[in-house]
Each structure stands twice: as structure tokens, then as C-alpha cells.
Amino acid sequence: MGPYTLLRVERGGLDPGSPGQFFMLEAPGRLLPRPMSLCLAPAGELAFLVDPIGSGTQALAALEAGDSIHVLGPLGSGFRLDVDRPLLVGGGVGIAPLPFLSQRLGAPPAVLGFRSEWHAEAAALVPNAEVAIDPTLVTELIEPGFDVLACGPEPMLDAVRALTPGAQLAREAPMACGYGACYGCAVEIGGEWKRLCVEGPVLEAAA
């Protein structure tokens, strides 16, 4: 869909976990696996939204039916689901965890931002979604009074944080292992560098 690939793998014995959690996917030919949040959990499968922008994601997008890869997960902590008036906010490939989240929350309203009509084809994955296309920003579609659950690029998350303190933000960081071993995915939390894979990837925006 658009520039993105929806990669579907057999679930086997793996638990899909909760929305916002992620899996480490072996990227064939690469030394390190790649972290991907779960996009959908169809019966017997796990589905991931891949934006083929680098060597690892391109290797994942090039996989063909019948290939097999090593999958580790679910990892990290996902979105808190006990919210009264959920609004899902996504930007670009950051909409990845929202289809699964929408399913678990009973298709609440969503606002999604993309850089082009082509990219916006992925909006079809999220029910009840309103779409903003550059130069319109997704934050212009956020109305007050909602419990925001967001995933997207850092500038978008910064804007969401400013608009809606208390929002749940799914962050991203380069990661070698995904299970707390490498200390590579450091993000600043409460003035300290902490491991996003252990403390997150979903973090509550400081009020």
C-alpha cells in the first residue's frame, strides 16, 4: 500500500502481545534484526508495516512467501488501554501500531498525517480515520478533550506532547537487540538516558 509493505508472517507459538509492543525481525543478510511494532494480528499471523528506507527494511520488504525469518517478541510495553475517549494519532509509517490498537479499542476516531496521497493509501488500514496530507499537519485535526495515543516522527510527537499533555506516545530509536542487552536505544526520560526497549516504546508525555 503506497510505498509501504505489509509483511505477514505465520504466528506459530508467538503471542501477539498488546498494541504498541514490538518484535525484532531478522533482516536477511544483515547482522542486526529490526524492531517493528505489530500492525495487525490476523488469525494465525502477525503483520508488520515496513517502510523500505534502509538496507534492513528493504531486505524485509523483499521477502517472499515461503521465506522464513527469526522473530523475537512481543517486546517492551505497549499502550495503556484504559482510556475514556481515545483518539489515535499517526504520522507516516508511524501509523504501524494503530490498526491493532484500533481493533482492541473498538475502532475509535483516528487522525493520520502523510507526506503525499501515495503514502496516504496506508490510511485504509485504520478505520474511522481522518487524513491530513502535507502541508496540512495532523496536529491541526486534533480536537480537545480526547485521550491521545500517538505514534509518528519525533517532530509530530513533540507537537502532540505540546497540545495534549498526558498523551501516550510510541517512540522510536535505533536498537540492536530489543530486549535490554545493548543499551543502544537510549532516549531521555526524566532527564536521564534510558533504554526505550525496557521503559517503552510507549511513554506517557510529561504534563
Binding site: M24, E26, R30, L31, L32, P33, S55, G56, H70, L72, A173, P174, M175, A176, C177, Y179, G180, A181, C182, Y183, G184, C185, A186, V187, E192, W193, V198
Partner: protein, 289 residues
């Protein structure tokens, strides 16, 4: 004996992986807490990875009060990696430790070099503790065997070989990827470097050696044993495979069995033995006379 390489595993977040090793080696502990380096801290390269974690750790006091007691609960023998910036700092940490093996991190490429030489630091620590002291050396010195000889003379009980090598990666726009510009190179790229270092130090000293650098398979472990390592440590391979220790152990057993060896110790130093004379295969068709 199979260990993890220091800084490549958090036993408290992945206890099952830690228990699969014969001993757990901690992240380096420094006298004061260190937040570590700003991101980006990780970069994949063609045949390895770069890290610039920067010795993030809670500092000596909290390590002794909180981390170490929690690690004891795992029931795995512990190696504590000790770091510092001056010889007396290393020695002070050593003096506070009990019932562990100590690995002196003399060579982290992500922090400024200690002003004292490796041998001076080892001597200060030797005076401070009777615990086993392993010196972890950088492969970047021009003659690692000479450094190994010096730390042996200073009282080290063993060598950990090798730490990462300093490296750098540029992004598409030709700027450094890592927040600190350079980082430590590990993974498959480091294996030949580790083999050469272990081989050289095995000849130069009588110290037991823990070999590490790019170990991802039983064959890799076997090669380090053959070069002279008594034990082997797994680092970067853990990031892509938390079940690496058991897999490598099984693969190594199979490798040893094909050689008719019963243990990894028997493979130690094989690369130094004179090669067996080549067998002459007579493959002629002989006429019956």
C-alpha cells in the same frame, strides 16, 4: 567455558540468557554513575556494528548496594567488569568486591584513555585484592603481546581478548552517524583481529585467555580455543539471538566431536601445534603382478 562479553547482556532483564552462560560478566562499573553517551549510539556496518554506549552504569555505590545483590540471586558465577579513569579508582572498586572474578576494562574505545598504562592499573588492583584479575586489552596497541607480558608481570591472573576497535560510519549526507562520531566496532569484522591477538598472547604469556570478538557459532568458538583461548565470550551475536549461548555450546560440542576431542580445553592451542605431516594418498591403479 562460555561467557557473555561485558556490556552485551543485562542479566536482570534477560535472566534465562544469562543463566545459559557459565558465568555472567557485568557491564563496566565506574566509581561514579555515568549516563552514557547521547544518541545515536548504534550503527550497523557491512560486517559488524558500532556502538558508543559510553559505559552507562549506575556507579560503584549503587552497583554494590542494588545491582550486585540482585545478580547474586541468579545463581550464576559473576565476573564484574571494573572501569575507571585512574589506577586508584580501579583499585578502590576492586577492594570493595568479594566472591567474584574481576575483569579490568583497560580499553573502552568510547571513553578517554586512562593516563596510566595497563600494567600500572593492574599493579594497583593486585595490591588491593586477592580476587582473580583478568585484564581486558585493546587490540589497537601495536604489540598486544608486549602489553600482555607487562600485565602478567604486574600480577594479572588472566587476559580477556579483545575489546572493540574504534570505528566510524557516515550517513548518506556524509556526516557521522554516531552521536559521539566514533564508536567500538564489534561483530564478524572483529574475529580475525581477536584470533591474531589470542594467538600472539598465548605464545607470549602463560596466562589463561578468554577469547572474544565476532563469536556467533560453534566454529567461531572452536577457532578461538585453537588460537589459545581457555574460555570464549559471546557479544554482538546476543543482540540478534538471545538463545545464542545454548546454540553455540551445542555447535561447539559437535565440532569437538568431529575432531575426536572431549572438551574445549583439549582444543586450546591446537593452532600452535605443528601441522601433522600430510598423508600420502596412493591413488594409482596397480596392476596385479
Amino acid at each position: 567455558m562460555l561467557l557473555n562479553a561485558s556490556g552485551c547482556l543485562d542479566a536482570l532483564t534477560a535472566p534465562a540468557t544469562a543463566r545459559a552462560f557459565d558465568a555472567f560478566v557485568t557491564k563496566t562499573v565506574t566509581p561514579l554513575p555515568r549516563a552514557g553517551n547521547p544518541p545515536v549510539r548504534i550503527a550497523e556496518t557491512a560486517v559488524g556494528m558500532l556502538n558508543s554506549i559510553g559505559l552507562a552504569n549506575p556507579g560503584r555505590e549503587r552497583f554494590l548496594a542494588e545491582t550486585l545483590p540482585a545478580l547474586r540471586g541468579l545463581g550464576v558465577p559473576l565476573w564484574v567488569s571494573v572501569g575507571g579513569f585512574k589506577a586508584h579508582e580501579y583499585a578502590e572498586t576492586c577492594a570493595l568486591l568479594e566472591d567474584v572474578t574481576i575483569e579490568l576494562n583497560l580499553s573502552c574505545p568510547n571513553v578517554e584513555e586512562a593516563p596510566e598504562t595497563a600494567a600500572e592499573i593492574v599493579a594497583a588492583c593486585r595490591a588491593a585484592t586477592s580476587l582473580p584479575l583478568y585484564a581486558k586489552l585493546s587490540p589497537a596497541s601495536w604489540d598486544i603481546a608486549e602489553v600482555a607480558g607487562a600485565v602478567e608481570a604486574a600480577g594479572a591472573d588472566g587476559l580477556s581478548l579483545v575489546n572493540t576497535l574504534r570505528g566510524m560510519k557516515l550517513d548518506a549526507g556524509l556526516h557521522p552517524v554516531l552521536g559521539t562520531v566514533t564508536g567500538g566496532l564489534s561483530g564478524p569484522a572483529l574475529k580475525p583481529v581477536a584470533l591474531a591477538a589470542v594467538h600472539a598472547c598465548f605464545r607470549a604469556t602463560a596466562l589463561p585467555i578468554v577469547g572474544m570478538g565476532g563469536v556467533a557459532s560453534g566454529r567461531d568458538a572452536l577457532e578461538l580455543h585453537a588460537a589459545g583461548a581457555r574460555a570464549v565470550a559471546v557479544g554482538t551475536a546476543l543482540f540478534s539471538d538471545p538463545s545464542a549461548p545454548n546454540r553455540i555450546r551445542e555447535e561447539l560440542s559437535a565440532e569437538l566431536a568431529t575432531l575426536g576431542l572431549e572438551s574445549a580445553e583439549q582444543a586450546c592451542g591446537i593452532a600452535h601445534q605443528e601441522a601433522l605431516p600430510e598423508r600420502k594418498h596412493l591413488d594409482a591403479r596397480s596392476r596385479v603382478s
